[in-house]
C-alpha cells in the first residue's frame, strides 16, 4: 500500500486553478521527486499535502487513511512532516534548542510532563537530540545560534528539526537551493540514510541533476496537472517533459 | 407613526456621521494596513476646532467647519510623517503608537478646554422643520446632506483623479505601485490627511448636536471598529453600507429598548462576524 496517495486533488484560487485533478501515490521507502516548470503548481501541491491549504476537491490519504480534513499539526503528529523553502528556523536559539523544539509535540509522554518534566523523559529527549545532531553532522555546532550558521547548515538544521518530530514521511521543499556542490553531496547522502532508516521522502526541487541522481520515482507537473511519472530515466526520455521545460524557458 | 419617522431620520443622521468616520478608517487601513485607534480623537479635534474658530472667534459655523477639516488634515499628515512612517513594517507597533496619539490628544483637549466645559456650537441653519406633525431640527438634515455630498465628492476623487488612482493602486499592491513610480510616502501622507479630514468633518458636523468633551471620540471609535469589521476591513463601500445598517439598528434598539442593550447587541454582532466570516459581511474572502 502506498504511504501517501492523492486522488483527483484540485485547488482553485478564485478562477485560477493552481492544481488540477492531481493523482499520484508515493511508495514507502522511496525518494520521490516532484518537478515541473515554474508555476506548475508544485508549491501549491506541497501545501495541499501538508495541510496548509484545503483542496477544493479531491482526497489526500496517508497509509490509506483520509487526512484531507486534518490540520497541519495533526498530520505532523501522524508522521507527515515538512521542511520549508528558504530558512525557517528558531533563529534566536541554538542548534540544540532548535532540535529540542522539534520534539515538543511528542505525545508519548504522560500529561504531567507538560508541567513537570521528569528527568527520565528529559534525558531521553536529550539523547535523541544528540543522535539527530550526529546524524546531521551538527554536533560540533550544538551551541551555535541558528542565525550564525551558514546557509547550507541552516538548510540541514531545518531538516534536523523535522527529523526530531519523528517523520515517517518527510516532505522537503527545495532542500538543495543555494547549496554548494559539496553541501549538495552531503545532503544527498543524508537523505539516502534517512530513507535507509525507514522514512519515505518526497521532495520538490528545481535542481534537475540532483533530482535525477537521487530520486527513485519522479512525478512531473505542468499547468497544475500530472504530466507523467516514472523513473528518472523514463522521465528524461519523455518527449512532453522536454517540451514543457523548453516551453517554459521560451 | 410620527415617532417612527423621527427615528428613521435620526438613524439616517447617525448613519451619515458614522459613514464619514468609518470611510476614513477603511481608507487608511486599505492604504497603510494600519488600524488607527486615534481616529475617534480626530473626530473630537474636529468638534473642538469648529467651536474654537466658528464660535469662540465668532467667524461663523462654516468657517469653523473649514478650520476643522484643515486642522485635522494637518494633524493626520503630521502623525503619518512623524510616527507611522517609521513603523511601516511593524503593523502592531503602529497600532500601539496610534493608542499613544489617542491618549495625547485626549489629554491635550482636557488641558486646553477642561473636562466638564460646556461648549456650545450654533448650528448653521437654526430652527426646526415641522412637517405634518413631525419635528426635525434643520441641522440634522444639514448633516445628512453634507455627508452625502462629501462621500460623493470622495468617490469622484477616488474614481477619476490621478491621486485616486494612485491611492487605489497602493491599496491593492504596494510593491507593484512602487514599481510604477508611485511614492508610497506621499500617498500614505495624503491618505492619512484625507482620512483625518473626514473624521474632522464628521466631528464638526456633529458639534452642534452632541456634547463636546475630550472623551467624545471613544464611543465613536468603538462604533467605527464594529462597523469596519461588519463591512470587511479595508473595504470603503462595505464600510458605508455597514455604517447605515449598524447605525439604523443601533438607533432603533436604543429607542425601543435602551442604549446598553444596543451596545451589547452591537458587540455581539461584531463578535459573530469575527467568528463566522472574518472578512466582513460585505468583504471579499481574504486570508486573515
Amino acid at each position: 500500500m502506498p504511504i501517501l496517495s492523492l486522488h483527483e486533488v484540485t485547488k482553485a484560487f478564485g478562477g485560477l486553478v493552481a492544481v488540477n485533478r492531481a493523482t499520484f501515490s508515493v511508495e514507502p521507502g522511496s525518494i520521490h521527486g516532484l518537478i515541473g516548470p515554474n508555476g506548475a503548481g508544485k508549491t501549491t501541491l506541497f501545501s495541499l499535502i501538508t495541510g496548509f491549504y484545503r483542496p477544493t476537491m479531491g482526497r489526500v490519504e496517508l497509509d490509506g487513511e483520509d487526512i484531507t480534513r486534518l490540520s497541519t499539526s495533526a498530520r505532523a503528529r501522524k508522521g507527515l512532516v515538512r521542511t520549508f523553502q528558504g530558512t525557517v528556523l528558531f533563529s534566536d536559539l541554538t542548534v540544540e534548542e532548535n532540535i529540542a523544539n522539534g520534539m515538543l509535540a511528542e505525545s508519548s509522554s504522560p500529561w504531567t510532563d507538560w508541567l513537570f518534566e521528569s528527568p527520565a523523559s528529559r534525558s531521553s529527549r536529550q539523547e535523541r537530540a544528540a543522535a539527530i545532531m550526529d546524524y546531521a553532522r551538527l554536533s560540533d555546532l550544538r551551541n551555535v545560534g541558528a542565525k550564525d550558521l551558514s546557509h547550507g547548515q541552516q538548510r540541514v538544521l531545518g531538516i534536523a528539526i523535522a527529523l526530531a518530530a519523528k517523520p515517517r514521511l518527510l516532505l522537503l521543499d527545495e532542500p538543495f537551493t543555494g547549496m554548494t556542490a559539496s553541501e549538495k553531496n552531503r545532503l544527498a547522502e543524508m537523505l539516502r540514510r534517512i530513507r535507509e532508516d525507514g522514512a519515505t521522502i518526497v521532495l520538490v526541487e528545481h535542481d534537475m541533476r540532483t533530482v535525477m541522481r537521487l530520486c527513485d520515482v519522479i512525478t512531473v507537473l505542468n499547468f497544475g496537472s500530472v504530466l507523467t511519472e516514472g523513473t528518472p530515466e523514463q522521465v528524461r526520455r519523455h518527449p512532453e517533459v522536454m517540451a514543457a521545460y523548453l516551453g517554459s524557458a521560451a | 407613526m410620527q415617532f417612527l419617522v423621527e427615528t428613521v431620520l435620526n438613524s439616517a443622521m447617525a448613519s451619515a456621521s458614522t459613514a464619514l468616520v468609518v470611510v476614513g478608517l477603511a481608507l487608511i487601513f486599505g492604504v497603510m494596513r494600519i488600524e488607527n485607534f486615534a481616529h475617534g480623537e480626530l473626530y473630537m479635534v474636529g468638534a473642538y476646532a469648529t467651536w474654537l474658530f466658528g464660535t469662540s472667534f465668532g467667524a461663523g459655523y462654516w468657517v469653523g467647519f473649514a478650520a476643522a477639516i484643515l486642522v485635522t488634515a494637518v494633524l493626520g499628515a503630521a502623525i503619518e510623517i512623524l510616527l507611522l512612517r517609521r513603523l511601516r513594517n511593524n503593523p502592531m507597533g503602529a497600532l500601539i503608537v496610534t493608542i499613544g496619539v489617542l491618549l495625547i490628544l485626549q489629554t491635550g483637549a482636557a488641558w486646553f478646554f477642561g473636562i466638564n466645559s460646556n461648549l456650545l456650537v450654533d448650528a448653521p441653519v437654526s430652527g426646526v422643520l415641522s412637517l405634518g406633525g413631525f419635528n426635525m431640527p434643520w441641522h440634522r438634515i444639514v448633516v445628512i446632506a453634507a455627508a452625502v455630498l462629501i462621500l460623493t465628492a470622495l468617490t469622484v476623487i477616488l474614481r477619476t483623479t490621478k491621486f485616486g488612482w494612485a491611492l487605489r493602486a497602493v491599496a491593492q499592491d504596494k510593491d507593484a505601485a512602487n514599481l510604477q513610480g508611485i511614492s508610497i510616502g506621499r500617498i500614505s501622507m495624503s491618505a492619512m490627511a484625507l482620512s483625518a479630514a473626514l473624521a474632522g468633518a464628521a466631528g464638526s458636523l456633529m458639534a452642534p448636536i452632541v456634547r463636546i468633551s475630550p472623551f467624545m471620540g471613544q464611543p465613536v471609535i468603538i462604533t467605527a471598529f464594529i462597523v469596519i469589521i461588519l463591512g470587511g476591513i479595508g473595504s470603503m463601500e462595505g464600510a458605508i453600507v455597514a455604517a447605515v445598517i449598524y447605525s439604523t439598528f443601533f438607533t432603533f434598539v436604543s429607542v425601543y429598548f435602551d442604549t446598553t442593550i444596543a451596545n451589547v447587541a452591537g458587540l455581539c454582532l461584531m463578535l459573530a462576524v469575527l467568528i463566522v466570516k472574518p472578512s466582513g459581511l460585505m468583504g471579499k474572502a481574504q486570508k486573515v
Binding site: 507538560w114 518534566e117 | 507597533g93 472574518p278
Partner: protein, 319 residues
C-alpha cells in the same frame, strides 16, 4: 535580586504608612496581572479581555462573600475557576482570530460582559458591590484581622508570591517552551506537530485563572467592586505597562510593573496629564526601544539568557 525584592516587599508596612501599604498591595496585584498577562503575550497575542477576566474573579468573590458568606480561601479558588471557565468558553471563538482581529474580538467579548454587569442588578448594576468584609482568620486562638492594611498586604504578598512561583515553573515547563515556540515560529511549530490554536487557548485560560485570583485580591483590598474598574481604560493601561516595561523576561515584567506603578503614583499630582504622559512614553518606546524598558536598562542580562525573543510588538503581529 529576587531576595532583595522579597526583603524590600516585606519591609513596606514597617517603613510606610497605611496609605503606601495599601498602595503596595495594589502594586502586588498589578504585578500578578502583568505576569499572567505575559503568558498570553508569550504566545504572540495582545488581549483586551484580561482585565474583565480579573473582574470575573472580583465579582465572584463579591457575590460569594455577600450572598453566601464564603471565606477567603474559598472565594479565592472560586474566583480563579470562574475566570478560567469564562476564558475557556470565550477562547473557543476568540482563538480562531489573530492580531488585530483577536484584539477586537477580546474587546467585544470583554466589553459585552462588562455591560451586562452594569445592566443586571444581580451584579449590583453600575454601582457594583461594596462592603465586602475583610478576611478574618482564627487559628485556634491566633486571630488575624486582615482588615488592617498591613495584614492584608502580607496576605496579598503571600498569594501573589505563590502565584509567581507557579508562573515561573510554568514558563520553564514544556508548556512554556511550546508557547515561546508558537510566538517565534508559528508555522514551523505547526509543521512539527504543535497544535498552535490549542496551546494558545491553554495559555489564555491559564492566564485567566491567575487574573481571577488577582480579581479576588482586588475585591477584598478595596472592599468593593465596580464595573468601571474593569473598563477599556484599565485594559489599555495593562497593555501599556506590559509594552513599556517589556515582556521579554519573567522578571522584566515584574520590575517594569513596580517601576511603572511607582511612576504612575508620582503622577497623581497631575492626574489630568497622566494619560498624555503615557501616550508620549508609549510612542517613544515604540519608536526607539521597541522591546521595552527592560531592554534599555539591560535587565535581561541580569537574569540569565532570555529564552524568549523580542516582544511580539516589535515583529510582524498585525492582521
Amino acid at each position: 535580586m529576587t531576595t532583595t525584592l522579597a526583603i524590600a516587599a516585606c519591609a513596606v508596612p514597617f517603613v510606610a504608612g497605611d496609605y503606601y501599604t495599601s498602595f503596595a498591595t495594589e502594586i502586588a496585584i498589578t504585578v500578578l496581572m502583568l505576569s499572567s498577562y505575559r503568558i498570553v503575550v508569550l504566545t504572540g497575542e495582545w488581549s483586551f479581555a484580561h482585565v474583565v477576566l480579573q473582574g470575573a474573579g472580583a465579582y465572584t468573590a463579591a457575590i460569594m462573600v455577600k450572598d453566601h458568606g464564603a471565606s477567603f480561601p474559598i472565594s479565592l479558588v472560586a474566583g480563579s475557576i470562574v475566570a478560567a471557565a469564562i476564558a475557556a468558553v470565550l477562547s473557543m471563538p476568540l482563538l480562531k482570530m489573530r492580531g488585530f482581529y483577536f484584539l477586537m474580538g477580546t474587546f467585544a467579548a470583554a466589553e459585552a460582559i462588562r455591560l451586562l454587569w452594569r445592566k443586571f442588578t444581580y451584579f449590583g448594576g453600575t454601582r457594583g458591590f461594596s462592603g465586602i468584609s475583610a478576611p478574618y482568620f482564627d487559628f485556634g486562638g491566633v486571630q488575624i484581622d486582615f482588615g488592617r492594611s498591613a495584614n492584608y498586604y502580607f496576605l496579598t504578598l503571600a498569594v501573589v508570591a505563590a502565584c509567581l512561583v507557579l508562573l515561573w515553573r510554568l514558563e520553564r515547563s514544556r508548556l512554556g517552551k511550546v508557547w515561546k515556540t508558537i510566538e517565534q515560529q508559528d508555522v514551523l511549530a505547526q509543521s512539527v506537530g504543535i497544535d498552535t490554536r490549542r496551546y494558545r487557548r491553554i495559555a489564555f485560560v491559564i492566564a485567566a485563572a491567575f487574573a481571577g485570583i488577582a480579581g479576588v485580591l482586588l475585591a477584598y483590598a478595596f472592599g468593593s467592586v465596580t464595573p468601571n474598574r474593569f473598563s477599556l481604560n484599565f485594559a489599555l493601561y495593562l497593555m501599556i505597562w506590559a509594552i513599556v516595561g517589556g515582556t521579554r523576561t519573567f522578571f522584566g515584567v515584574i520590575v517594569g510593573g513596580i517601576v511603572l506603578m511607582a511612576f504612575d503614583e508620582s503622577l497623581r499630582f497631575a492626574e489630568q496629564l497622566r494619560p498624555g504622559v503615557y501616550g508620549v512614553i508609549l510612542i517613544l518606546v515604540m519608536l526607539f526601544w521597541p522591546q521595552g524598558l527592560e531592554r534599555l536598562i539591560g535587565w535581561t542580562g541580569l537574569y540569565g539568557r532570555g529564552v524568549s525573543k523580542a516582544a511580539p510588538v516589535s515583529s510582524e503581529g498585525g492582521a
